[in-house]
């Protein structure tokens, strides 16, 4: 028999050695930068990137025809705002998004809440909802345009479809999460179903609806822009599509930039709304 490399004595002495602290260390501490320095570095990086883009396009490293360059984009932005359709495009997209967002959130919430009333009805509806959820709704956009025309209605319809299902599913989860003991308490007090719904189910689901607002505003905007891609007369999505098909890449960037700004502003507005609602509803 050969000597085993794991003789108990060896293992033991090794363990003891490993357990003995060799050196005391300082706790690693990161010093946080002040906010202005972080912002400064961020702006610096942005300027560097833009300069690199400009330089690369000028020197021919990248093809300015396909990628455009910051100076051209800036020029295009001025033209778009002063002579172009900036205002009407922005208001069109904004309107479509907002209406779709409101409709999708409201109708979805109502459908989700309605599941509380009948377990049978909820069970019957469940597979349909999941089917509708699994359809890539944007793939149906051409059909929606055919049915609702190239105006406001079709974009609102797409934005609504995108937000509605998520809302329905989330709110129905909220309905399922209502504490059955609270329900029993209400009934023991002699409550009617309507009272349980109004005083327990709806308030209990409100936080779920509030958390949907930020998700939904982004989805609604996506829906509106995709609708505009396919057929429309105005809107930032149409502007992007038009500019792309006429090889005006600078204008594509301008429209994307404006669209992103709109998106961020709406996101911030909805976040503020969410905060205010949370203060009012949750404590």
């Amino acid at each position: 028999m050969t000597v085993s490399p794991t003789r108990p004595g060896v293992v033991l002495s090794k363990t003891i050695e490993a357990a003995r602290p060799r050196r005391a260390r300082r706790l690693p501490v990161q010093k946080p930068w002040p906010a202005w320095r972080i912002a400064g570095v961020q702006v610096g990086i942005l300027i560097l990137l833009l300069l690199a883009w400009e330089g690369a396009a000028d020197s021919g490293v990248i093809n300015a025809f396909f990628w455009s360059q910051p100076s051209a984009v800036f020029h295009s932005l001025i033209v778009f705002c002063v002579e172009g359709d900036a205002l009407i495009d922005i208001t069109t997209t904004f309107e479509e998004t907002l209406i779709g967002f409101a409709l999708g959130t409201a109708i979805g919430s109502m459908i989700g809440l309605s599941f509380w009333w009948s377990r049978n009805y909820a069970a019957v509806a469940q597979p349909f909802i999941i089917c509708f959820e699994s359809i890539p709704k944007l793939a149906l956009a051409p059909l929606v345009i055919l049915v609702f025309g190239i105006g406001l209605a079709s974009k609102v319809a797409i934005a609504t479809a995108l937000t509605l299902v998520v809302t329905t599913l989330t709110v129905s989860s909220g309905v399922k999460a209502v504490d059955p003991d609270s329900e029993r308490l209400f009934y023991s007090l002699g409550a009617s179903r309507w009272q349980v719904f109004r005083k327990l189910v709806v308030p209990a689901c409100l936080p779920w609806m509030i958390s949907l607002l930020r998700v939904n505003i982004g989805l609604a905007l996506t829906g509106a822009v995709v609708g505009e891609f396919i057929a429309s007369q105005h809107g930032l999505g149409r502007e992007i599509f038009y500019a792309g098909s006429t090889y005006d890449i600078a204008l594509v960037w301008v429209a994307v930039l404006v669209l992103s700004t709109l998106s961020i502003l709406m996101y911030l507005a909805v976040s503020a709304l969410e905060k205010a609602l949370r203060r009012g509803v949750l404590h």
Partner: protein
């Protein structure tokens, strides 16, 4: 009793659940009569059907057989006739303490404004003064139970079921709450049925204790608690208290022994 009718009568109530073909007897036919204004406790091991019995009395669970009579009238399967406080306080987090307490009255048809006005004086009198506009999340466990109990007491029923209301509280808070509950009980003059695991609690609070056993859930003995009211905490140190406790323990462990043998 001038009418000679008990306030609350549980008349041969039994509950059986059907589960995948096999029948499970949660509650054997149980009979229990409680006079108006009495404080009655149910004690027993977990699974002895205390909560099932409460659900039947509250009308939340239809019994397989038997009736629930209140003032001689059949209330089997009807909700809203008795107040029921569950183990959890179940205060609604989006309502203030005052509005939580007013909830019961509101559900029974009062306008929220009137319910608030009616509840307001009770909050101050029963240790919740200054908390009216606070939200439940900011309250201690004891305070939350006070609010939940007031919500139950302020509705217009004279029978109250309390399902281990102090189970989750620390020993010291629990004693305070017991004395507070006795105060409320003597002020409101309601008939109380109280579930607890705590023998000292049952003996300190009750006029009568029903000892229950499992499989099937049933009442094995009813014990009268003879201590005078109002009771002082010192009653727990008397030999009579010790003797009753000993007796209850024996009943409970006997039911355990049967369970173990089975």
């Amino acid at each position: 009793m001038e009418s000679g009718i008990s306030k609350l009568v549980v008349d041969l109530v039994s509950v059986a659940f059907e589960e995948r073909g096999s029948k499970f007897q949660a509650l054997a036919p149980v009979t229990m009569a409680t006079e108006a204004g009495r404080f009655v406790s149910l004690i027993g091991p977990s699974g002895c059907g205390k909560s099932t019995l409460f659900n039947v009395i509250a009308g939340l669970l239809p019994p397989s057989s038997g009736r629930v009579l209140i003032d001689g009238e059949d209330f089997t399967g009807l909700i809203g006739r008795v107040g029921y406080m569950l183990q959890k306080d179940l205060l609604l987090p989006w309502r203030t303490v005052l509005d939580n307490i007013a909830l019961g009255m509101e559900i029974r048809g009062a306008k929220l404004r009137d319910a608030r006005a009616q509840a307001m004086p009770y909050l101050a009198r029963y240790g919740l003064g200054g908390f009216e506009l606070k939200y439940p999340a900011t309250l201690s466990g004891g305070m939350r139970q006070r609010a939940a109990l007031l919500r139950t007491l302020l509705i217009d029923t004279d029978v109250i079921l309390l399902d281990e209301p102090f189970g989750a509280l620390d020993a010291q808070t629990k004693e305070q709450m017991q004395e507070w509950l006795l105060q409320l009980w003597s002020d409101f003059r309601k008939t109380v049925v109280f579930v607890t695991h705590d023998l000292d609690e049952a003996l300190f609070l009750s006029d009568e204790i029903h000892v229950m056993a499992t499989r099937p859930g049933r009442i094995v003995e009813t014990i009268a608690v003879p201590f005078d009211r109002p009771r002082d905490r010192s009653v727990v140190t008397t030999p009579e208290f010790a003797r009753l406790k000993q007796h209850c323990l024996k009943l409970l462990s006997a039911s355990h022994a049967i369970e173990d043998a089975a």
